[in-house]
């Protein structure tokens, strides 16, 4: 790990300002992704801004009847919160399907959204990777791609976003609240928060330099059957190959986002309109633009079957 200086931020505004004035600075929340990457020298900040003391760690109701989740709320506390369990069960389920008990006790809402890909070539500093080193090439293309994305990919990067929580947030129409370095605030719909790789896979979100995530809000509860189904190589403690997060109403309509297949949680309005017609037509529409490799073509079938299982469970 490279050496770094360390400060505890005293306010959100101060944290944003400090980060914007130093391109080598990073925020640290739970630290479970950042420190992992720093040990491997994939992330090499020379300054860390500890944001754990900022007080943005509460879950409260919004005026509209939804819920505001502080950026520093731990994944365990979010999953176990009474309102979330009752009204946003999909979110609890997705969180509980991720990582381990120890990690969820540390991991935060914002850190989880901003966790980086698990592409093995991104982790191997001996291999070219456009996300790690801009312009160096993509080792996954032409390499081992079983875990990689099948849709929304580019010639520069075929990595997936590994978060389970983000898939639920996407299906539930979450909005990310931030404070910028100049003190201004903005609200970014989660749909626009994560980027597709394009020519710049190293830029993963729309966050600007120094911008701090302060909260994620959810709209008023939509009811329905809320299901998160994660398919992985082990029954516990493994990242998803494919996951489906869905809210299905009694008339068969609903909201559905898919994880493990793209650079961001994958949700398509026209596909959702197919939900009452069943898993096949919905999956076909979700993956209409898919460009799988020989090794990850199985994800196309897996999405359809996982969605089928979800719809069956929702009817039951």
């Amino acid at each position: 790990m490279r050496a770094f200086t360390y400060e505890r931020a005293s306010s959100v505004e101060a944290a944003a300002k400090a980060a914007a004035s130093n391109s080598q600075a990073r925020f640290i929340a739970g630290g479970t992704n950042l420190l992992d990457l720093m040990k491997l020298e994939i992330e090499t900040p020379t300054h860390l801004i500890d944001i754990n003391g900022l007080g943005v760690d509460k879950i409260e109701g919004t005026q509209e009847g939804g819920v505001r989740i502080g950026a520093l709320v731990r994944n365990t506390d979010l999953a176990a919160h009474e309102t979330i369990r009752r009204d946003y069960g999909l979110l609890s389920r997705a969180l509980l399907a991720g990582a381990s008990g120890q990690l969820r006790n540390k991991a935060t809402t914002a850190g989880n959204l901003l966790q980086r890909t698990r592409c093995p070539y991104f982790y191997d500093t001996n291999q070219p990777c456009n996300k790690r080193q801009q312009g160096s090439g993509c080792s996954a293309i032409g390499g081992f791609t079983r875990q990689h994305a099948v849709v929304g990919t580019s010639d520069a990067c075929i990595a997936t976003h590994p978060s389970d929580m983000a898939v639920a947030m996407r299906a539930l129409d979450a909005v990310v609240e931030t404070v910028k370095a100049d003190g201004s605030r903005r609200s970014v719909p989660i749909e626009d928060f994560h980027r597709l790789p394009g020519d710049t896979p190293h830029i993963e979100t729309v966050l600007e330099a120094g911008e701090v995530v302060t909260a994620v809000t959810l709209p008023p509860p939509v009811g329905g059957k809320q299901i998160y189904r994660k398919v992985r190589d082990r029954a516990s403690y493994a990242f998803a190959l494919v996951s489906v997060g869905a809210v299905i109403q009694s008339d068969g309509t609903g909201q559905v986002a898919v994880g493990g297949i793209a650079h961001k949680p994958w949700r398509i309005a026209t596909a959702e309109a197919e939900l009452p017609r069943g898993a096949k037509s919905t999956a076909d529409a979700l993956l209409a633009d898919a460009r799988p490799t020989e090794q990850n073509r199985f994800k196309i079938d897996l999405v359809r079957r996982t969605l089928g299982a979800v719809l069956t469970e929702a009817r039951g």
């Binding site: 490279r2 050496a3 360390y6 400060e7 640290i28 479970t32 020379t46 860390l48 176990a80 990690l103």
Partner: protein, 212 residues
Amino acid sequence: MASPIHLELSRPQLLISSVVTSVVTGTAAEAATAQSPGAEMPQNSKVSMIVNDERHEIEVDNRTSLLDALREHLRLTGTKKGCDHGQCGACTVMVEGRRINSCLTLAVMHQGDEITTIEGLGEPGNLHPMQAAFVKHDGFQCGYCTPGQICSAVAVLEEIKAGIPSHVTSDITAAAPLTTTEIRERMSGNICRCGAYSNIMDAIVEVAGTRA
């Protein structure tokens, strides 16, 4: 000017920083020059924490994980380093009453925190019931994962009692039942290379007072 501490890395720190010594040397030299806006700030910090009911003040390189602080600075070597990347659970300790992986958190981030390690749970002659149950049921072979397993197991029973749901809880709006399925899922962050899992389960089940 950066603190000279980087040029005087102790042997344990060298081993911890990287397996390739030449890389560490290069890093240290670079770190001394690569400071820009943070230049006046130190790369080491004083931190005070309460470990097993005893207050300790230590000065650490900012890079020091809580795990290394416990092992190398406080000589509490019961907590083990398996993967150093949050994957195995050998480094599990309780911070402010919650189990975490001590390898994936910095010591400087724990100013004032209360930490309980395997040594704090109980010691020979005065074992914690979970420690005694692991001995009775042979919940280990080599023993390397054991401190982490025991800390996790104690926390798991607390988490179930506190009503925290898990991936296998069928109704997350109700209290999670105290079953072996629940315990197994919640222990999945603790890997045992020797495969002592069934005896580990027997030990936890006995302490939980539950039936399979």
